[in-house]
Symmetry: D2
Subunit: 347 residues, 4 copies
């Protein structure tokens, strides 16, 4: 249910409604809009009829059911687009665009620094790099873990780029949250509900990747897990789905961008490297993703892809990335978006 407050409702009235919602056994989620405040009342479907009674409370204009299974993520609850702040960047703001670039894995301080400098020079405004790696085989390189995080720290200190890196389990969350600016939930963990709840209890921005087998509604339900724990800072990421086609590793579902834009207020970015698995397709599909209306890109860039410990086949080298970023500019201009350069976070 959404409780829509009158435009002139007082703080006190809003608080009172929140208290009453809580007393009825629901969680209040007040959202302050430009004109008015609306309060989501979230909880068990059963017994939600009693919330209708709030319509009579002072300051309340209407009580409206949210028909979608995702509530806090829905545009029914919130018409304006959510903007997630990372340093001076505003992810999801209509005139901004983010490019998260860097290697699949952090392999050494030298490698991550070289990568960070070159992606920054080319215009990227966030650095990606995995310290904890989800690998299909237990015998593959699993990441440098704590040491990798420290190397990412160094890279941020030296370049000012905020860091996005993956969390594989709740047990590593505190450690990673100390180092990362954005917590990434990988495709294979999209329905790891314990992990979703754990990141939901932080207030860190979360990059939630679509499972390779997950519908867009399931993606939104997973976002809802995070939101319902009180963390509103969720960024969605389309990264390709599994189909029968074999020329590409996955099928990049670009319609996901406009579909999600219709269903949710959360920002949506696209990962064309995992989405296709083929380096030569990344620049073209990045252009197409911009034209599809996404808020940013995540791109794998490695100083020397031929020596990468993981995902070399889909990583751009610095030259390719620089050319791609130049080629994107006029498309970003058509979408009236631009790449702000990141100011050092907490530096």
């Amino acid at each position: 249910m959404i409780v829509v407050m009158k435009p002139n409702a007082t703080e006190k009235q809003i608080e009172l409604v929140c208290t009453q919602i809580r007393e009825m056994g629901f969680q209040p989620h007040p959202i302050q809009g430009v004109e008015r405040t609306v309060i989501g009342a979230i909880g068990d479907e059963r017994g939600r009829e009693q919330l209708q009674g709030l319509a009579l409370v002072e300051g309340v204009e209407a009580v409206i059911p949210i028909t979608k299974p995702y509530k806090l993520a829905s545009r029914e609850l919130r018409k304006e687009r959510s903007v997630i702040k990372v340093g001076n960047l505003e992810i999801g703001a209509p005139q901004q665009f983010v490019v998260m670039a860097g290697p699949c894995s952090v392999e050494s301080e030298e490698q991550i620094l070289e990568a960070a400098r070159c992606v920054k020079a080319a215009g990227a405004n966030i650095l990606r790099g995995g310290a904890f790696k989800p690998r299909t085989s237990p015998y593959s390189f699993q990441g440098l873990e704590k040491k990798g995080l420290e190397m990412l720290d160094t890279a941020r200190r030296k370049t000012g780029l905020p860091i996005v890196t993956e969390v594989l389990g709740a047990e590593d969350l505190d450690l990673i949250a100390e180092h990362a600016d954005i917590l990434q939930i990988g495709a294979r963990n999209m329905q790891n509900f314990q992990l979703l709840k754990a990141v939901g209890r932080t207030r860190k921005p979360v990059l939630l990747k679509r499972g390779m087998m997950s519908t867009l509604i399931e993606l939104l339900m997973s976002a809802e897990y995070i939101l319902s724990q009180g963390n509103p800072n969720v960024i969605l990421c389309e990264r390709g789905i599994r189909t029968f086609e074999t020329q590409t590793r996955n099928t990049l579902d670009l319609s996901a961008v406009p579909v999600l834009k219709q269903l949710t207020h959360l920002p949506v970015i696209v990962d064309p490297a995992h989405g296709t698995g083929v380096r030569s397709l990344v620049p073209t599909m990045s252009k197409a993703a911009v034209a599809a209306g996404c808020d940013g890109l995540m791109v794998e860039v490695h100083p020397h892809p031929e020596h990468a410990l993981s995902d070399g086949a889909q990583s751009l080298n610095p030259d390719e990335f620089t050319k791609m970023m130049q080629a994107l500019q006029p498309y970003l201009a058509l979408e009236r978006r631009s790449l702000h350069s990141a100011a050092a976070v907490g530096a």
Copy 2:
């Protein structure tokens, strides 16, 4: 095998090689390039070693195997892009772009004329409209058949737009070929090999739609059926594949565009209406398709979608289509493409 002729090879030498290829039981397919001629020798894999002997023939520079299962469709055989002429349009030419627009079905003369005029006014340069309709149910509207074709004739005469319309079976081919400028093979018939052979025996341009669960290699193999019968005028069309996602009717596989551009010299167009099945997604996905590098679009436009006998939910109305065409212009400009207006064919 490809027989590469020397740059200064004479007509006579080329003819002689063709004769010898024929005598060895293969079909010669000479392709005249800017610098030199290459001759594809196509036939049963067995016994192709003897073709190697042609390397010694005068005027021949080299004999090279084609490694792909599709031969005539491959870029190994032909590096330059194929251009398919339809009236004064050159589909596949790098600076041109085609938009095939119109209703799913021809429903009446009034309807198709109204549709033709409005899509032409908005900039479309080819008229689409089904006279023979493949419908899942035998009890659904199956098209006006011959009468529908005659209405398309009228629409062409009055607007100068060339016509693309679907062929469902070899038995209707002669009739449809009389009326259509481009023969469409629908997704459900992509592996109707008898029909592919039949349209391959004509010289009419063929629009070959990807089956909804066909790989790109299978699409190229189906093109090969047409090419191997002697008809070089094949246009490929991505129109969405079947996946588990339910927010869209199909998943539009835009990576198909750059993948096909790497594998084949044939033009590639995109059908975002069938690809998504949702009207509101068509303009955005059309922009994305342009950015992905396609040679054209096929779009369903109905003067009154709410009364359409088929596919109303994914058809744009004239206003929506006009706005979309305007919005596409700057994206086409970035790709250095423009929409030529069609001159009346045979008029």
Copy 3:
């Protein structure tokens, strides 16, 4: 709509109802049951309300709408199972079981005779063999065509086994119908509606294979195309669907058997060779198919699979097939089914 006649309705009353249905612009499909006759009234959805008026006609008990999009194929219309007679075999009869076995392609008279004799000796009661072959590549072996059909004739004459063979297009239908006892529509042609209509105009039994990309409802709609042309002799065949799994060529969807048994009165058989694409899985999956309740199997058996011109990897050799047939016996016994031996058809 279904018009349910009273148990004691006379022939004349039934005829009268049929005439009235026809006059209202619908096709009557009378189905004589054990207790009573029901008449399907099939046609355009629009205007079907007038059929309700028939409830007042003498001999009519009730007029009931069919809610499914497939009408003649539905169990709403016909509760008893359809039995398709082929010589002395009754496909779909609850105590019978058919095994259609033989090579993918007819390759020579010697080969098809050897195959026919060995599959008969092992207990198969129908001979399969392709004379017209749908091949992904135009350069692959396309079948012996007319000569292949004549070899199948010889095999039937010498073994008494009825023949099932594939029709690729309406243009070959008359020729094939002269030679075949069952017309096979392949997976790639499941939605070749012109071909469905053409075989619907014959009265020959039709084996309709599920498209590798087709839902069960679409399969039933394709059956409806055949039924609605007046041919009630349709046998459905599950042969695997396309998924992301790569250990098998397709994913054999055995749940299709009980689902179809719930939805339709038509017989259902299973093709485990195409369904898995792996020879070593065929015997096990055949057992599982019997346990799932199917009415028969289609199995690829080649006298010398290692020399097969097509599908060798999924064909059993005579020994393997004989062992498999023996292993099936106790499972058939549990299902209270047995394999009748075929008497020479028309011999």
Copy 4:
């Protein structure tokens, strides 16, 4: 690499080889067969050539590479079938069969006791029931957690049935391991590698469900994660994959059973309730699963499915389950398998 010891190799020789493997930086996994011992040497691919040197060590017959990406799970390493002991049950033993039955969720002591008694009476030998529930929506019933585990304890004490229940995250593992006899990893967590490692560090039997869009190789790689941590007690479970078909919730991939039996020595069970999502299909698909050669079934049974808090639509009621178990008996007999009744574990 596998080090194959001579049949007469001594304990001491075996120990020595293990030590040397460890010194080269690999993990030794000795497997004692009937005739001889083989020792898997597992670790980073790089530098495995040095292991070849072991061929010269006394007692060693041969050093053979394992070509599959899964090593410990492969039949290359271990030809005999693994048998997982749970109380007096031997899961995977060729003459035994297990049926894990019970409700989706533990809802109350009364409910789980009623369920336990009726599934035991019908012949089931393991009780399933979820205390921690992975739910798509954060607002759905999430399970009774610790209280649910205690109710499962009571049910075991009163019926003697061992318990299988799901673990959602490493943080709950210790608690659940105290109560459960088999730890279940659900489909959504099949690639939650942290969780796989955590259960791998216990020695509890693990039921690993196939992800709904995971290949069989990926399933084996996930099993490898558990095995490589030292826990050999892994049971695989096919539970349906996601496809385009909508008549069933998932497509039950029964070919997975014989494929897995060829690739791995681990036991394989089937979950027809999740695999189809339709109650009426469960008995038939269970018969088919037995015929496909599985080692057991997991079935949802609820005393009152119409009141179930989750998965009611696919749960059998006690009567249906009893009938199904009776119907399975002759099929089990054909496979020479029988259902041992469980003796109270630790009771």
